[in-house]
């Protein structure tokens, strides 16, 4: 494990609802005769960022780059390996059982797979009010009223409350999942690829609901996706991850229009362009090789084996610093360091 560098990002502003400092999550791999730990999957390997109140931070990257793990570790759904996460100034990982339960009300999650995120044996209405029951909020009648209210918020009917998950389509289930997440009136929601499993026509519906709700309740989202168009549609700021590392983070316009990291540039060039006349003006960058294994990531900059601009002796030896190169546009690349 290389030396963790001091966090470079945290600008502890008052409007930062989430501050992530050097988050690390390794999964042990066991094997051999005695099932000893033989290696680690370095799913998240030192990621730092902040999320401002009321904004949507989009997190993109190829599958397996650690986006989902980041989201779940922030919510402390899976134990972390190292690093810190602050929610409204409170250290999430240091919370005791009771305080953690309290703070869960403020942080919720919407899952990717609408088919496994609802208990098949419980009517969806009950799933929605489950959080209220756990936290003993309101009388049973009030809870059901809330369930109906929430169902309407996500454009569903009252009587749906008594139906079972298998009676709904994927998009409907996803909306029920959103209603469940909203029941506790959280401030922050991790949306873990909420539309990836849906048909394109349904995706827009769900995205619009998410955006309406954000406006209505002043929600903050960490929006995880691998679909760049979706992220562009919903995010204020965008972070790009590659093999457990954050390589670029900045305002949406900046990242999409002026990507600085070679990996982001390659990603952006792959977005289909709606206007065929424009298509010719852009060159598609095709990356060579495969995504490296997070078990044994490349030394130095993790992107260097596939990078066209890799500098021998530097990029393959030392890890580039993750630095702000103006207007909150962070990049981890030696090229930028050289230029400035």
């Amino acid at each position: 494990m290389e030396e963790q560098k001091a966090p470079t990002t945290p600008i502890h502003g008052n409007d930062d609802i989430i501050v992530v400092e050097n988050l690390v999550k390794y999964f042990p791999i066991r094997g051999g005769f005695f099932r000893r730990v033989q290696a680690h999957v370095r799913a998240v390997d030192g990621v730092s960022f902040t999320i401002k109140r009321g904004e949507t931070l989009g997190l993109v990257g190829e599958s397996g780059c650690g986006k989902t793990t980041t989201g779940r570790t922030i919510l402390r759904l899976i134990p972390h390996t190292a690093g810190k996460v602050y929610f409204e100034g409170k250290d999430i990982f240091a919370l005791k059982r009771g305080a953690l339960k309290e703070i869960r009300k403020d942080m919720q999650i919407v899952f990717q797979d609408p088919y496994s995120s609802l208990d098949p044996r419980i009517p969806v209405g009950e799933s929605i009010i489950e959080g209220l029951t756990v936290h003993k909020i309101g009388t049973p009648k009030e809870r059901w009223e809330k369930a109906i209210h929430l169902l309407r918020q996500v454009n569903m009917e009252d009587f749906h409350a008594r139906r079972y998950p298998h009676e709904f389509s994927g998009g409907q289930r996803q909306r029920i999942g959103i209603a469940r997440a909203l029941a506790l009136e959280p401030k922050f929601i991790v949306a873990d690829e909420p539309v990836s499993a849906l048909d394109v026509s349904v995706q827009a519906q769900v995205l619009n609901i998410l955006m309406d709700l954000q406006e209505k309740y002043g929600l903050t989202y960490l929006f995880i996706a691998h679909n760049l168009s979706v992220v562009e549609h919903i995010s204020n700021r965008v972070g790009v991850m590659y093999v457990g590392k954050m390589v670029e983070l900045g305002p949406r316009e900046e990242v999409f229009k002026h990507p600085l990291h070679p990996y982001t540039q390659a990603l952006m060039s792959a977005i289909p362009v709606p206007d065929p006349h424009q298509a010719g003006s852009r060159k598609r960058i095709i990356l060579e090789g495969d995504v490296p294994s997070p078990i044994n990531p490349p030394s130095g900059c993790r992107f260097h084996p596939r990078c066209r601009y890799a500098i021998k002796g530097l990029c393959d030896r030392e890890e580039p610093p993750f630095k702000d190169y103006g207007d909150g546009h962070f990049v981890a690349c030696w090229l930028m360091e050289k230029e400035s």
């Binding site: 099932r35 779940r72 919510l75 759904l77 953690l100 339960k101 309290e102 869960r104 009300k105 942080m107 919720q108 999650i109 899952f111 990717q112 797979d113 496994s116 995120s117 609802l118 208990d119 098949p120 044996r121 419980i122 009517p123 209405g125 009950e126 799933s127 489950e130 959080g131 756990v134 936290h135 049973p140 009648k141 009030e142 059901w144 009223e145 369930a147 109906i148 209210h149 009917e157 009252d158 009587f159 409350a161 008594r162 079972y164 298998h166 009676e167 999942g177 469940r180 506790l184």
Partner: protein, 315 residues
């Protein structure tokens, strides 16, 4: 189910109340509705109900005492109005014995299945939920137990434990208790594997993660999400297990290593009938038929329940 839905949603309060009060009984009736469509399972249920009633009211139905009413001058008699299934080798009424045997065989099966499913569910639940080295150790142990050949071991153990005396228990009942205990000891592994599998698959599903995100404790997640979801396979397994245990217990009793006479069971009645096979062959039919019908009925009920309990099936 839909009469409430038709109402206009203008009065929210009423709907909330409606949702509050009408949810419970529906789940059972849904399962029942689905189960009813499986005709053979329904027939199985009827057979079992009849057998259970006959076992419960054996005292009232049986014309003779199964053990003490011996008629030495009327041994191995053919069916007659006094003895509708004839008498056995010491002149006891076969029909009465069959009724009391149902009592023993069914209650042994019930007790064994209840205990082994509970033990199995607990072991499997712990193993699946906690994982890690606990799971490793338990699984190796279960695999090891499952490696051992079942029938030879059951025979060996009941043979060993014969002639054991348990204080405060009537002598003729010791073998009933011992056989139940042995069947439990060697019977829980299958259900523990089943429950572990279910728990493992549930643990990785997003709805348990969602429950954790809502602030639910582990215990509450197990009670509210894991157990109800694991219940369906457990119920099916238990029903099929009832048939299996009836046959297994009968097999042990038949070989002379199970429940010992004079306590009547279908298995030891069959054994007695076998030794008199040349003299009065027909009596082989009754106890065997009882074993076969019960086991078949439980198998069909299990099959029907498997379909009825599947939440993904529509009405």
């Amino acid at each position: 189910m839909s009469e409430k839905n038709v109402k206009e949603p203008q009065v929210e309060r009423l709907d909330a109340e409606g949702l509050l009060t009408t949810k419970k009984e529906s789940q059972f009736s849904v399962v029942w509705k689905r189960f009813r469509r499986h005709k053979l399972a329904l027939a199985g249920l009827v057979i079992i109900i009849i057998f259970v009633l006959m076992a419960i009211f054996a005292n009232a139905i049986a014309p003779y005492d199964p053990i003490t009413d011996q008629d030495p001058y009327n041994r191995n008699a053919d069916p007659s109005p006094e003895h509708i299934m004839g008498t056995d080798e010491v002149g006891r009424d076969v029909f009465s014995r069959l009724l009391f045997a149902a009592r023993i065989s069914l209650s042994v099966a019930l007790v064994v299945v209840l205990f082994s499913e509970t033990i199995g569910a607990l072991v499997g639940g712990v193993s699946g939920y906690f994982g890690g080295w606990v799971d490793m150790a338990i699984q190796r142990f279960v695999e090891f137990l499952m490696t051992l050949p079942l029938l030879p071991l059951l025979l060996a153990f009941s043979s060993l434990l014969q002639g054991i005396y348990i204080p405060h228990i009537p002598k003729e009942w010791t073998s009933v208790i011992l056989i139940s205990a042995i069947l439990i000891i060697f019977g829980w592994m299958g259900s523990s594997r089943l429950v572990r599998g279910v728990v493992l698959s549930l643990r990785d599903l997003d709805f348990t993660e969602a429950a954790r995100a809502l602030g639910m404790s582990d215990l509450r997640i197990i009670v509210r999400h894991m157990i109800p979801n694991a219940m369906a396979p457990i119920i099916v397994d238990a029903t099929l297990g009832l048939g299996g245990v009836i046959v297994l217990e009968s097999a042990l009793s038949f070989l002379g290593f199970g429940i010992q006479p004079p306590v009547p069971t279908w298995g030891n009645m069959l054994q007695a009938a076998q030794s008199g096979l040349l003299g009065n062959p027909v009596k082989v039919i009754y106890p065997g038929l009882a074993i076969f019908l019960t086991s078949l009925a439980f198998n069909y009920i299990g099959d029907g329940l498997r379909d009825a309990l599947d939440p993904r099936l529509k009405l």
